[in-house]
């Protein structure tokens, strides 16, 4: 390495230019563009103004009903905000702010609707928590008449039915769904594209049509009576496309180079799928299964058409009617008796809690991306790695010894004094 006249350096025949600048001792302060104060305050101001206007017209002056207060406030807020923006900005900015507020309101309304539904059902159920006892979970309705007090009767029969039906449905749809998703992704081709189109159309198969189908095929042809197994088949028909679709989406995210690495190491297609693809998407697949379960648990119409309504506990899904939780909730709500309706709220809340729990579990598992591991997984992998190291080292020693031996066999004179 030698210096050249114009201040560069040689490496071989390449001249690397050097820069003759003294390093900065302190960063100059950056210029930050922030909207001016009047713009920042326009939206809060408009919100306060809108609320004040609505409250003034409604509760204070009594000009409009309570139901109109939020609507009036919203429109007054929109108008105020538009005028405030127009004072200092051009019309494009007004359009921008206006659309921003509209989009954000749509988002808020959607979330508010969800929160309203969930809270409404949970609060209804919480109010009656005092009048409902733990026995609600451990008794059935077999000996409970329409006028019996709330302390009698429960939904044990529905819980048993739901668990058995969803269990059978999962036992069929999980292997079938994952195998189909693997077919769509790993094998592909024109036929797979056809299957994918059909699966996407099937996700919107009306649930009552699935019930009718099972009624016409399984019940009329084979069992001749309502039973839990037929209900679980109907749930399977509805869960299968959901499961295939979400598994398909997850499998699509497996990086192609992982698959190619497996194939390049000499693994066949099946070993690549088993050792590389499936372990990579394990969390995603679990999420897909749990979400499918959450959808399947809530299906009401197909169960209504296939498993029948009963008040008695029935452990055998192959014989006789077997009710499930959403169906029980529906039957309770349809009844004119207030106590029965109360049982309906409780059952619906129980169902909703079950779905919420499943959903949270699915989120916790599926929150991580493929290939990014949690601390526990990292720790387990480190442990495995240490174990592998010991094995590799012992193998290494073994191979070294064998090589030594072979070398000595071929040149017996080497190493001899």
């Amino acid at each position: 390495m030698s210096t050249v006249p114009n201040g560069g350096e040689f490496i071989g025949s390449t001249v690397i230019p050097t820069v003759h600048l003294t390093p900065r001792t302190s960063e100059p302060e950056r210029v930050q563009f922030r909207p001016p104060l009047h713009q920042q305050l326009a939206l809060p101001g408009a919100i306060i103004g809108g609320l004040a206007f609505g409250l003034l017209l409604g509760p204070v002056l009594g000009l409009i009903g309570t139901g109109w207060v939020p609507i009036t406030s919203f429109f007054w807020m929109l108008a105020t905000y538009a005028v405030l923006t127009r004072l200092t900005e051009d019309i494009q900015a007004v359009k921008d702010r206006f659309s921003g507020v509209m989009i954000a309101s749509a988002g808020v309304v959607v979330v508010a609707a969800l929160v309203l539904v969930v809270l409404f059902v949970l609060i209804k159920a919480a109010k009656i928590l005092g009048s409902i006892h733990f026995s609600f979970l451990t008794t059935d309705m077999g000996l409970t008449g329409p006028l019996s007090p709330l302390s009698e009767g429960g939904v044990k029969h529905a819980i048993v039915g739901t668990l058995e039906q969803i269990g059978i449905a999962l036992a069929i749809s999980v292997p079938l769904g994952i195998a189909s998703a693997l077919f769509l992704n790993e094998i592909g081709g024109r036929y797979a594209r056809l299957v994918r189109t059909v699966v996407e159309a099937m996700t919107a198969l009306p649930s009552v049509v699935a019930g009718l189908f099972i009624y016409a095929s399984v019940i009329l042809l084979f069992t001749k009576q309502f039973n839990g197994f037929a209900a679980s088949l109907a749930i399977t028909v509805l869960m299968l496309p959901i499961m295939i679709r979400s598994a398909d989406v997850v499998l699509r995210l497996v990086p192609g180079n992982l698959r190619e690495a497996g194939l390049a190491l000499g693994a066949g297609q099946w070993s690549t799928v088993r050792r590389v693809v499936l372990p990579t998407v394990r969390s995603g697949l679990t999420t897909a299964i749990i979400l499918g379960t959450a959808h399947g648990i809530g299906e009401t119409a197909p169960v209504l058409l296939t498993s029948g309504v009963t008040n008695n506990l029935n452990f055998n899904p192959f014989n006789g009617p077997q009710i499930s939780m959403p169906l029980a909730a529906l039957e309770f709500i349809k009844s004119p008796q207030p106590d029965m309706r109360t049982r309906g709220y409780a059952t619906a809340a129980l169902l909703l809690l079950l779905v919420l729990v499943l959903f949270v579990i699915a989120r916790l598992i599926g929150g991580q991306q493929a290939g990014i591991l949690t601390n526990g997984q990292l720790r387990r992998r480190a442990v495995r790695s240490v174990r592998d190291l010991a094995r590799i080292e012992s193998n290494h020693a073994l191979i070294k010894a064998q090589l030594e031996e072979r070398r000595r066999f071929h040149n017996p004179n080497e190493g001899a004094p």
């Binding site: 139901g67 494009q92 921008d96 659309s99 921003g100 509209m102 954000a104 749509a106 988002g107 959607v110 979330v111 609707a113 969800l114 309203l116 539904v117 409404f120 059902v121 292997p175 079938l176 195998a179 189909s180 693997l182 769509l184 056809l194 299957v195 996407e200 159309a201 099937m202 919107a204 198969l205 009306p206 649930s207 009552v208 049509v209 009718l212 189908f213 009329l220 028909v237 299968l240 990086p255 066949g268 297609q269 070993s271 799928v273 979400l291 809530g298 299906e299 009401t300 119409a301 209504l304 058409l305 959403p326 529906l330 709500i333 709220y345 619906a348 169902l351 909703l352 779905v355 989120r363």
Partner: protein, 342 residues
């Protein structure tokens, strides 16, 4: 060191008729088994769909034959006992409820999807996405309960207001309502297609939103930045880049939502009071859908009435499938390259 390259002077006579070699792929037995098993699983799904159509069609023929196809499509009444039934009122009611649901759900889900992709970020984004997914998983009986106990009560004043001031528009007219009566008869409004449609809209918002969100988030960031660089505001960027790019997703998501709305059973069943007439007064009590009629009438069924219900189910099945295949064709065309290796 100099090297020189020789250009081969192809085509040499006798060489250019060379055939490409045939590449044969041979799979190990276990791989062959894997391919066959998964292909079988995929075929099974196709089989189910074919079976659904076949079974419904076979069971439906008896009822349809006995009244004739034209009668079946145009009769409003539903009384298989007297051999006088048809799906005109049912189909009309189904479409009305689904359209109301779409009118409510489309702006909300469009705004919701834009909010998730364009405005929110970080924590809010993941919370919103999770909320939308959760909304899809809430059982329909819970929505029905909510509609029956909460929404009915709170929608009636709105329906009353609408019929009082906009009653001159035919669809908002309510027969038997007196606008001058200070104490409105609530019972006229409680079980209308409007309330049923609003409940169904809550059930289709999540599927529409997630479909649109997916297509919006795929709008290329280069074009977004290009729009900003040309001086566009955020709304200008959304209008000129995101919305045109996501048009396939918007149309496809809307049609998927429509398909779901057509088949919704339990929530509508709890709210609407069934009538078998074409009722286009959406604020007035009474309406009907195919799915709801099936759920209501299956219990009293003998062979023939069941066959009539199967015919109704078949018409619903055909309608939703037509809409969904159109939707997936639109979506598939708009995201060409989704099948390519990531």
């Amino acid at each position: 060191m100099t090297t020189s390259t020789y250009l081969p002077d192809y085509p040499v006579s006798g060489f250019d008729d060379a055939e490409p070699r045939v590449i044969t792929v041979s799979h190990a037995p276990v791989d062959q088994a894997f391919r066959h098993v998964t292909r079988l699983a995929g075929s099974f799904v196709l089989l189910i769909m074919v079976l659904v159509g076949t079974f419904l069609a076979v069971k439906a023929t008896r009822a349809v034959k006995s009244v004739g196809i034209w009668e079946f499509l145009t009769t409003q009444e539903w009384s298989p006992e007297t051999n006088h039934f048809g799906i005109a009122a049912l189909l009309f009611g189904t479409v009305v409820v689904a359209l109301i649901a779409l009118v409510v759900a489309l702006p909300l889900s469009l705004g919701g999807a834009l909010f998730i992709t364009e405005i929110s970020s970080g924590f809010a984004k993941s919370v919103l996405t999770a909320a939308i997914d959760l909304m899809a998983a809430v059982p329909s009986v819970v929505y029905g309960l909510f509609g029956l106990v909460y929404l009915q009560k709170h929608m009636v004043p709105f329906a009353h207001w609408l019929s009082t001031y906009f009653g001159w528009i035919p669809i908002f007219k309510v027969n038997g309502a007196d606008p001058k009566n200070p104490l409105p008869n609530d019972a006229l409004y409680t079980s209308s297609s409007l309330i049923g449609g609003v409940i169904v809209s809550m059930m289709i918002i999540p599927i529409m939103t997630s479909m649109m969100r997916e297509s919006f988030s795929r709008a290329p960031s280069g074009e977004r930045e290009g729009a900003y660089a040309l001086g566009a505001t955020r709304w200008g960027m959304i209008r000129t880049v995101v919305l045109p790019f996501g048009r396939g997703g918007i149309i496809g998501g809307t049609m998927l939502g429509l398909g779901r709305a057509l088949g919704e059973t339990i929530a509508v069943y709890l709210i609407l009071s069934p009538i078998f007439d074409i009722n286009f007064h959406v604020l007035q009590n009474g309406g009907n859908t195919v799915a709801m009629t099936i759920a209501l009438r299956y219990g009293e069924a003998n062979d023939f009435t069941m066959s009539a219900l199967m015919a109704a189910g078949l018409s619903l099945f055909l309608m939703t499938m037509a809409i969904n295949f159109t939707a997936s064709a639109i979506i598939a065309r708009s995201r060409s390259g989704a099948e390519s290796e990531a």
